[in-house]
């Protein structure tokens, strides 16, 4: 009995070993190497002559946390997460409800239209949006001025640059979450709605007490993934503003990129990566915990 169990264990190890090996080589080892790197000041001088690399312990972390630039990037990223996630989730949920509505015709067409931005190249999208945001000739300011509203220099004003990027990325990405919500909506049993109808529940009550609880797994997945995605903001500001004006659109990943691949401070960049990892891990644990509390 015991012997066969051991044999089974052995077989299991053989079966999972290719996967473990791959994870080890391509994930665990690089993460360990990255962490060790974050304890050194590996930089341009060390590339030329490895002997001038110094082990600085937690020095990089200390430098980062006392550097004004890091906190600017941190604040920008948090603004992007805190404003962007609810906006993005609301937009995708709204779109999902719309394209899933029973009375809607040409559902396929709308799904394709809403999903198109997700698969469009960001660089192409960014060029078009730069025209939309143009202070003098942009469509957005044209519309605002026709409505008698004040206009703004969207990408040139430090106050508006981040909201402008936020709007672009919500538009670009909501289609993906919409599909997940559509799948979630279709798994909510139709009988529940019929029963609610018989009980005289209105549209809001049906949404509040049937749709939302039915979507809970999808909601958890979508919010966690969106939070993780938003923490990694990079391509949009890189293409649209290069972090300006006044560094108002520098995100943590962009700071990491600058430190690592522009200034070649690999140690510092690795340390930023681990700070970001800690932030994302914390945020995710918090979310899962609040979701669990709500469901019990």
């Amino acid at each position: 009995m015991r012997g066969s169990g051991e044999r089974q264990d052995g077989a299991a190890w053989v079966l999972v070993s290719p996967a473990l090996l791959l994870i080890g080589v391509f994930f665990v080892l690089p993460v360990i190497a990255g962490f060790l790197l974050s304890l050194t000041d590996f930089d341009i001088y060390a590339i030329g002559d490895p002997r001038v690399m110094r082990v600085v312990g937690l020095g990089n972390y200390h430098q980062i946390l006392t550097d004004g630039d890091f906190w600017i990037a941190f604040r920008n990223t948090m603004v992007y997460v805190v404003l962007g996630v609810p906006l993005s989730v609301a937009a995708s949920l709204g779109a999902a409800l719309l394209v899933n509505a029973q009375r809607l015709r040409a559902k396929g067409l709308f799904r394709v239209v809403f999903f198109t931005p997700v698969v469009t190249t960001l660089v192409a999208v960014a060029i078009v949006w730069r025209y939309l945001y143009h202070p003098k000739f942009g469509l957005l300011n044209w519309g605002l001025s026709h409505l008698g509203l004040p206009t703004a220099d969207w990408l040139g004003d430090p106050h508006w640059a981040m909201p402008a990027i936020l709007l672009l990325s919500v538009w670009k990405n909501f289609g993906y979450n919409m599909l997940i919500f559509v799948a979630g909506l279709q798994s909510v049993p139709q009988e529940l709605y019929e029963a609610a109808d018989l009980d005289g529940a209105g549209a809001w009550q049906r949404f509040r007490h049937i749709t939302l609880p039915g979507l809970r797994p999808a909601m958890l997945f979508v919010t966690v993934m969106t939070v993780l995605g938003n923490f990694q903001l990079f391509a949009e500001p890189y293409v649209m503003t290069q972090g300006g004006p006044l560094r108002s659109t520098v995100s943590l990943v962009m700071l990491m990129y600058e430190q690592g691949f522009r200034w070649w401070r690999m140690g510092r960049a690795a340390a930023i990566a681990f700070v970001l990892f800690a932030l994302m891990l914390g945020a995710t644990l918090l979310q899962i915990r609040t979701q669990r509390e709500r469901s019990t």
Binding site: I44, V52, P135, G244, P245, R262
Partner: protein
């Protein structure tokens, strides 16, 4: 590679008759050397014309040109170095030479130069040539030179009563005030993009600021010289002579210049061609170029430009040098100028009538007599961005000029910590000596 190709050819030849044998002998005779050549931005675009003629002249060499965008050039070269995928020949901004020499990426070229019938040190602007020598070792051949001068609307300045371009800061400023008064609101005297660092740096160099001191291990932006230049620069925005906008914010610099939105701009030689192409025809005689004014009389400008460098570990050093020589011939330099607008590094090329008869490039020729390089440290890329950030902050009123400079010194000193450590251990000199 070659052996297998021949083997396959023989088998094909036996089976398939004389036709295949003919093609076999062809492939066998040439087996051309493949050179990889990286050039940036516009240069990478137009150099293919020159390279095609080089290949015609040297049938045994095939050159694969790859164009690298300027904005990513530095990191691309560094990543290529680390990944051991550097090209055999490459364009290198001349302020990056010390850095890549320190990395031991560049082949010393002194011996090639001594043996060359085409190239002589005496045919280059001395200031520019010096930027290619690290501790007496030559690492690059200047390809084109770059400096900044003033482009201005002659008609607008004349209307404001300015007939001769001023040579001193005071007269320059007075001219700007006159233009603004004449043009009225919505118009500015000069466009100084808030996201560019060369302009404030040049003014600093003009005032005699060194910016980095103690073997470039300490920042000195708070020196009286730099402070003076910085106050002058920020004052131009504060007094409404320059618009507080970046390059990204202005829709089209050429249209604005044509409209009279501003009457002057400090920019480089590539814009002679752009201005000619993009400005309306009726403005053709209405704009000109002039050397930069200085604190008291004609001022310095920066010694920029690009060099051609050869990879230390290239497998084809002779062919690589041939390409460098070819691109450095005076007639190719003139041709390159016509294609790209980049000013030739060779003095002989300047004797061509395209320059002697062109008042627009004459200002550059004049300015090139007064140039100076900026600090040659690997950290300069990062320092220049900080400088730009602090200028932008001061321009937008987020901080005062003096506290902007204090912040700049503090940040830059932090960046230079490694250099101080290296210097204390005598490794800073070893860094360049080791590259020999």
């Amino acid at each position: 590679m070659r052996a297998t190709r021949r083997g396959r050819g023989v088998r094909a030849g036996v089976a398939l008759s004389a036709l295949a044998l003919a093609s076999l002998s062809c492939a066998h005779a040439s087996a051309p050397v493949h050179l990889r050549f990286w050039a940036m931005g516009r240069e990478g675009e137009v150099v293919t014309d020159l390279v095609r003629d080089f290949e015609r002249e040297n049938p045994g060499i095939k050159v694969e040109v790859q164009q690298i965008p300027w904005s990513a050039a530095h990191e691309k070269l560094l990543t290529a170095y680390v990944g051991r995928s550097m090209p055999d020949v490459f364009q290198l901004g001349n302020t990056w030479i010390s850095e890549f020499a320190a990395l031991r990426a560049l082949a010393p070229l002194g011996r090639n130069l001594a043996a060359s019938a085409v190239l002589h040190a005496s045919s280059y602007f001395p200031g520019i040539w010096a930027t290619n020598q690290i501790d007496g070792v030559l690492y690059g051949i200047p390809w084109y030179v770059d400096t900044r001068v003033l482009f201005y609307r002659r008609d607008l300045l004349a209307r404001a009563g300015v007939r001769v371009m001023p040579a001193t800061w005071d007269a320059w400023r007075a001219a700007m005030v006159a233009v603004c008064r004449d043009q009225g609101p919505g118009h500015y005297a000069i466009f100084l993009p808030t996201n560019e660092w060369p302009q404030p740096m040049i003014l600093g160099m003009q005032a005699g600021a060194r910016m980095l001191v103690d073997d470039d291990t300490r920042a000195d932006f708070e020196s009286p010289e730099f402070r003076r230049a910085f106050h002058f620069y920020i004052g131009l925005f504060r007094d409404g002579l320059a618009p507080p906008v970046s390059n990204n914010q202005i829709a089209n610099m050429y249209q604005e210049f044509a409209r009279g939105g501003f009457a002057m701009v400090i920019t480089g030689p590539w814009n002679i061609g752009e201005f000619r192409r993009r400005l309306p025809l009726e403005l053709a005689g209405a704009w000109g170029t002039a050397p930069l004014p200085g604190p008291a009389g004609p001022g310095l400008s920066m010694a920029g430009g690009s060099s051609l460098a050869v990879l230390r570990e290239t497998r084809h050093p002779a062919e690589a040098w041939k390409l460098v020589e070819y691109l450095s011939r005076p007639e190719q330099q003139v041709r390159f100028y016509h294609l790209s607008g980049d000013l030739p590094a060779r003095v002989e090329a300047w004797r061509d009538t395209s320059f002697t008869h062109d008042p627009l490039t004459l200002a550059f020729g004049d300015q090139l007599q007064r140039t100076a390089p900026w600090p040659k440290v690997p950290e300069w890329e990062e320092i220049s961005i900080r400088l730009q950030d602090q200028v932008e902050r001061a321009v937008r009123g987020a901080t005062t000029p003096d506290s902007a400079l204090a912040a700049l010194d503090r940040d830059v000193d932090r960046m230079l910590e490694k250099r101080r450590w290296l210097r204390a251990r005598g490794r800073l000199a070893a860094e360049t000596a080791g590259a020999r």
